[in-house]
């Protein structure tokens, strides 16, 4: 094993850019399968934050089942005419462009006949309605598409090849995102320890075991992130190891906030349990952790991927 001296880099705060979706998922996909025009068109403005990207994969009733998408586009000249509806579109109300899956072969089913289209959110026929989360915050939105005209040049990875392109894109989401996830986790961990101390509970042996257990998962997430980066550097196919990252991160991150609730004890319901302790931000993050095991392929979907593709277990019928 070569040295791991770059660990400091891992510990540095990951950029919380408004364009993080574009930077982390879309940019490497464009570099991998985009045309040279697309690279020129997309990467620069994204890096300069001139164009904010949002993601539109889920549809009502489809959830984690990407193959069940019903939004469709019909080629009319050199434009697709797109109709349908997306939900859980992150940053929908702030986005300039959206990468999204559309069924471009009429009558196709499941994985076939899908294309990944890049849609201008300011185009006629695009309507956005924000979705309020259980935390009270609105970060997602619904997007309604009515006869939206999308130039055929705005298809990424080839018409009808959307499934493969989406899998590539999602592997970046599930894999390389490990480092920024690690950073957010560590910041939350430290905050939670400070709360325990403020409430005089950092010395409770039972809570200390729980906090230590969460820390173990955090460190393991760091090792997994380093492992994934090593594999990327070696040019290996990440494949299902991104599902391992997603499971490790989402379950551990959610678990950390279960410990948070436990250490609050009688005060778990109060946003300000004592005069000098404001838990509003941690509480919102806590609600947010209930969603991380749902979006981007639920934990159930990830486990199926690991069972079938990594362990090679026979497929369930």
């Amino acid at each position: 094993m070569r040295a791991i001296h770059d660990a400091e880099l891992v510990r540095a705060r990951a950029p919380r850019s408004v364009n993080s979706l574009g930077l982390v998922f879309l940019a490497p996909t464009v570099m991998a399968v985009g045309t040279s025009e697309q690279r020129a068109d997309i990467i620069g403005p994204m890096l300069r934050n001139e164009v904010i990207w949002c993601q539109g994969f889920s549809e009502p009733g489809a959830g984690s089942d990407l193959a069940a998408l019903r939004t469709h586009g019909v080629l009319d000249g050199d434009e697709f005419v797109v109709n349908g509806q997306k939900v859980w579109t992150t940053f929908a109300s702030r986005g300039d462009r959206m990468f999204t899956m559309v069924r471009t072969e009429p009558g196709s089913s499941r994985h076939r006949g899908l294309s990944l289209l890049l849609i201008d959110m300011h185009a006629p026929g695009v309507e956005v309605r924000p979705i309020r989360q259980m935390s009270g915050v609105s970060e997602f939105g619904e997007v309604f598409l009515t006869d939206v005209r999308v130039p055929a040049s705005q298809c990424l990875g080839g018409v009808g090849n959307g499934w493969a392109t989406a899998m590539l894109l999602l592997s970046f989401e599930r894999g390389a995102a490990g480092i920024s996830q690690y950073t957010a986790y560590q910041q939350a961990y430290d905050e939670i320890v400070r709360v325990a101390r403020a409430l005089g509970r950092a010395g409770d042996p039972v809570l200390r075991q729980e906090l230590a257990r969460r820390r173990v998962e955090l460190e393991c997430l760091r090792y997994q992130a380093m492992h994934v980066l090593t594999e990327v550097e070696r040019g290996r196919d990440l494949g299902a190891s991104s599902s391992v990252t997603k499971l490790q991160w989402s379950q551990a991150y959610q678990g950390l906030f279960e410990t948070f609730d436990e250490l609050l004890g009688a005060d778990v319901a109060l946003l300000r349990p004592t005069a000098d302790l404001d838990l509003t931000a941690l509480r919102q993050e806590s609600f947010w952790t209930r969603s991380v095991t749902i979006w981007g392929g639920s934990s159930q979907v990830q486990r199926t991927i690991v069972a079938e593709r990594v362990l090679g277990l026979p497929r369930g019928s």
Binding site: A68, R132, M134, G200, G265, A266, L270, L271, T274, S298
Partner: protein, 391 residues
């Protein structure tokens, strides 16, 4: 040997359930939750509950009550939990129980009649800011004249209560106030007699300040009470054992509410995932989900049993009542927190939105799991009752 509700109790449960479905369903709950500036105390509902006699269930017959036990009370509160119903029902019943047990005949006559008729809202204030339940967490002091100084936090519906039963440290005891780092048994008999008293306080009295507190669970509103020489009347029979009894009753009612929340969360999730299709099949037919829900059914069933037994044991003064309360509260905590978390997870994306009802259940479970003793406290108390007594 019998372990089941009577026919009357089952009929009562049916009546409450039908009443709520008809008069206060989830849309009504949502209206209360969304009215953030409101007091969270729907007056029509309160009047109707009073008319049904459900506030007088534990009030003695001499004061016009039904004179039933905690076993009957838990039947009602379990349905309120299943319907995530807002309002100071449990708080009022608890205050009534304290006055019934430790109040003078005059106090009982003045409060219990109106309380049972729904003409009066009451609540209990038993711990200070940041404090655990139990004597160590009390941050109010009484002087010899019955004047109260200090603070209580997380008091249910203090802002609409007419009277508040306040736990206070009494003169001559050097117990330390403030945050208690070491958990203590929330329902234990206390450390010997004396030193703690319960006081009947009118919210409108001088020296009483009530400030609403922001909480994650908008189905039940909380407030802080600050006391500066506030005049109050001691419940003459009260002592550490009276406080312990009150905490035990509170724990059983909270556990019953949790059992209702948990069962409703499970039933609604089963219904949703029987209908919802993904990957070409009903989501509920996927074995991993089905097995998890089966495990939750076992846990919720155990919580239901445990609540039943604890209420019965308190009513009967059974020797294992203290143990039974700790079992009921810690099991109900776990079952409700797990079932409501699964409810969010297995509703998929929609389960995470404000527009869907899942979060009412999830948040109510979180609040109640910490109310009247969290699992940390009840389990340590249980260890004292079991680990330390094995011969």
């Amino acid at each position: 040997m019998y372990f089941a509700l009577t026919d009357e109790q089952r009929a009562l449960a049916e009546t409450v359930r039908a009443f709520l479905a008809d008069r206060f369903d989830l849309r009504a709950v949502r209206a209360v939750v969304d009215d953030e500036q409101g007091d969270g105390h729907p007056a029509d509902l309160w009047r109707a509950i009073g008319e049904q006699g459900w506030l007088s269930v534990c009030v003695p017959a001499v004061h016009g009550g039904l004179d039933l036990g905690l076993l009957d009370a838990q039947v009602i509160v379990r349905e309120f939990g299943a319907g995530v119903v807002p309002g100071p029902w449990a708080a009022t019943v608890l205050a009534g129980a304290a006055i019934r047990r430790d109040g003078s005949p005059e106090q009982a006559a003045a409060v219990l009649g109106p309380l049972g008729a729904g003409e009066l809202v009451a609540t209990v204030a038993l711990r200070g800011p940041g404090g655990h339940l139990g004597r160590g967490g009390i941050a109010v002091r009484a002087d010899a004249a019955g004047r109260l100084d200090g603070a209580a936090s997380g008091v249910e519906y203090a802002h609409v209560a007419d009277v508040i039963v306040v736990a206070a440290i009494e003169p001559g005891v050097s117990a330390e106030l403030g945050v208690s780092a070491e958990p203590e048994g929330p329902t234990g008999a206390g450390h010997g007699d004396g030193g703690v008293g319960l006081y009947l306080l009118e919210r409108g009295a001088a020296g009483v300040r009530v400030d609403r507190q922001a909480s994650i669970d908008a189905t039940t509103r909380l407030a802080a009470v600050t006391l500066t020489g506030a005049p109050a009347a001691r419940l003459p029979g009260s002592d550490a054992a009276g406080l312990a009894d009150l905490l035990r009753r509170g724990a059983v009612l909270a556990a019953a509410d949790l059992a209702g929340v948990a069962r409703a969360a499970l039933t609604r999730t089963v219904a949703y995932d029987t209908a919802r299709v993904q990957f070409g099949r009903p989501v509920g037919s996927f074995q991993a989900l089905a097995h998890h829900l089966a495990d939750l059914h076992v846990a919720v069933t155990m919580a239901e049993h445990a609540v039943l037994y604890a209420a019965h044991a308190l009513d009967e003064g059974a020797p294992d009542a203290d143990l039974a309360v700790a079992v009921a509260k810690s099991k109900a905590n776990q079952a409700a927190v797990d079932a409501t978390a699964a409810m969010v997870q297995y509703h998929g994306g929609i389960g995470y939105t404000w527009e869907h009802d899942t979060h009412f259940f999830y948040k109510r479970a979180k609040r109640l799991a910490a109310a009247f003793g969290d699992s940390r406290q009840h389990l340590e108390h249980l260890a004292r009752l079991t680990v330390d007594t094995v011969e």
